[in-house]
């Protein structure tokens, strides 16, 4: 099997699993309790929080553990909207956010009277900064822009966005679920007030995430109950998850330079081979301002789900932005936002690498893709029309 869907989730690193295991069967005490093994749990949480804070240049007490990226995004938006409603009801975000942001915005719009502005992106998926700044009103309380896009891998200018937000005295939240541990992010340098992240995207465990909340930001509890997480997120802590997340974050930061340099080399090899050897395809997303492991290509005249099933039969795991994989009739909102027509959006393929993928793996994958694309095109009425047009019929 060749696993090329690391933007969906990653393999939990062995050292992460190893670090977590004692906190299931040995140090299983509730961190809020008084006895010795509970103290072990509490220490483990403190350590995990420190490991994560270090990666971001944050203070440990600014890291609030959650159940994952979606919860963090929900919390940041809903709680900010509530806490700052006396100041205004306007939130600025983008058209290419994850659904955890977009659907939360829709909820706030419909049920809570929020006004949301969705900023567009250029053909590479980079947020238009002029449009963003022009959208700011005295009512604007929050700007939420993802650090890097999950589908096309485009890295956003979060430093510039943070500067704009600060100049206008507006809070800045970034969904860094894909970016944390993949590219360097410093919350002070980028003026980030809130940041969402998820453990399982960086070889950590599933079911654990965090929201970074800058000291001084007045957002309230999202889950009410006990006094955990400085009374802002009740519920007994996911101790093994936090331990694993801490180790994964520390590991991701430690190996980042070497790992991503290798990934970029293999990624560009993959992209170049596909673009030069398969006609009628295009790279989606920015060629340079791009996550180290992301390759997203649209193949004309074919549909993504068919491609995925055939890749799966060859032992290759990938994903697509086609409607059939989204459970609706519309293809990916991200691909439409960068201006792709529907038929090209349906024919998209996302391959996201890990450090384990070699050029030899890529060679195999490219040969399979070539054969499958050929086969699907030979069955496609759109390709038939295209060829007839070429022949001047």
């Amino acid at each position: 099997m060749i696993y090329l869907d690391n933007a969906a989730t990653t393999k939990t690193a062995p050292e992460v699993v190893e670090a977590m295991l004692p906190y299931f069967s040995e140090y299983y005490g509730n961190p809020s309790s008084i006895y010795a093994i509970a103290g072990k749990s509490k220490e483990a949480i403190t350590k995990g929080r420190e490991q994560i804070a270090n990666v971001l240049g944050a203070k440990p007490e600014e890291i609030y553990f959650t159940a994952g990226g979606s919860e963090s995004d929900n919390w940041a938006l809903k709680a900010t909207f509530e806490a700052y409603k006396n100041k205004g009801n306007h939130i600025i975000t983008t058209k290419i956010e994850h659904h955890a942001i977009l659907h939360t915005c829709e909820y706030l719009e419909k049920e809570r009277g929020a006004k949301i502005t969705y900023i567009g992106v250029d053909e590479n998926g980079v947020v238009n900064l002029d449009e963003l700044e022009a959208a700011i009103t005295p009512e604007t309380i929050l700007i939420s822009v993802m650090a890097a896009n999950n589908e096309i891998g485009t890295i956003q200018p979060i430093k510039e966005i943070g500067r704009i937000a600060k100049e206008h005295n507006i809070l800045f939240h970034t969904d860094a679920v894909q970016a944390f541990g993949q590219i360097p992010i410093n919350v002070d340098e980028c003026n980030i007030d809130m940041l969402s992240s998820s453990g399982h995207k960086i070889n950590g465990p599933k079911g654990i995430g965090f929201l970074y909340i800058r000291k001084g930001v007045k957002i309230r509890s999202f889950v009410h109950g006990g006094a955990q997480e400085r009374k802002r997120r009740a519920g007994t802590e996911n101790v093994p998850g936090i331990v694993g997340y801490g180790v994964a974050a520390e590991r991701a930061a430690r190996t980042m330079a070497e790992r991503t340099a290798k990934e970029i080399e293999v990624r560009d090899y993959l992209i170049n081979r596909i673009l030069t050897e398969i006609p009628n395809c295009r790279l989606n997303g920015d060629p340079v301002k791009r996550l180290p492991n992301n390759c997203n290509i649209s193949f004309e005249f074919i549909e993504g789900e068919s491609l995925l099933i055939m890749l799966d039969m060859k032992g290759i795991c990938a994903s697509s932005g086609s409607a059939c994989t989204s459970g609706s009739l519309d293809p990916s909102h991200v691909l439409l936002a960068i201006g792709l027509p529907h038929e090209k959006a349906h024919g998209s393929l996302r391959l996201t690498l890990s450090e384990e993928i070699t050029k030899e793996d890529v060679d195999f994958v490219v040969e399979q893709i070539k054969a499958i694309v050929d086969r699907l095109r030979s069955m496609s009425p759109l390709y038939e029309d295209y060829i007839k047009k070429q022949q001047g019929k």
Binding site: F301, I302, E303, E305, S306, I309, M313, S322, A323, C324, G327, L329, P331, P341, H342, E343, H346, S378, M379, S380, P381, L382, Y383, E384
Partner: protein
């Protein structure tokens, strides 16, 4: 997610291709919703469908339903072919996931569109056949199933 029959027809689609100078050709669906089917019919003087081929742009279910639809109409009379409904196609494939039911509707429509083209070319009227509603030549705005 798919039945074995669907996977079989997706991996080994029957009757893929074109028919030169076909008696009738019908294209349905649109690229917007991600499925386009084109059906070619070769109909003899006795009104028997001698051959049927297809080309499809779409998901696994779209390919499988096209393939099955060609199998079901081959050797049939025009009237019998009209009775090949989306339900018949689905049953022959041992069912489809709910989100893919529209693919089987498209297969039924593709047969109808090809028959309609045949009728128009031969200036005949086929009893019980209505003008296909989702031919891509009619434009972008098509109804969703």
């Amino acid at each position: 997610m798919y039945s074995e029959k669907v996977m079989d027809h997706f991996q080994h689609p029957r009757n893929v291709g074109e028919i030169e100078n076909a008696s009738g050709v019908g294209t349905v669906g649109n690229a917007k919703c991600g499925d386009i089917m084109r059906m070619y019919l070769d109909i003899d003087d006795n009104g028997i469908i001698q051959d049927c081929k297809f080309k499809t742009f779409g998901c696994g279910a779209a390919v499988a339903t096209s393939s099955m639809a060609t199998e079901l109409v081959k050797g049939k009379t025009i009237q019998e072919a009209l009775e090949v409904t989306n339900k018949a196609v689905m049953e022959a494939l041992d069912g489809l996931p709910p989100v893919k039911v529209h693919c089987s509707l498209l297969a039924e429509e593709a047969i109808h569109a090809a028959l309609w083209d045949y009728a128009e070319k031969h200036h005949i009227k086929i009893e019980g056949l209505a003008k296909p509603k989702s031919d891509i030549s009619e434009g972008e705005e098509e109804e969703e199933y």
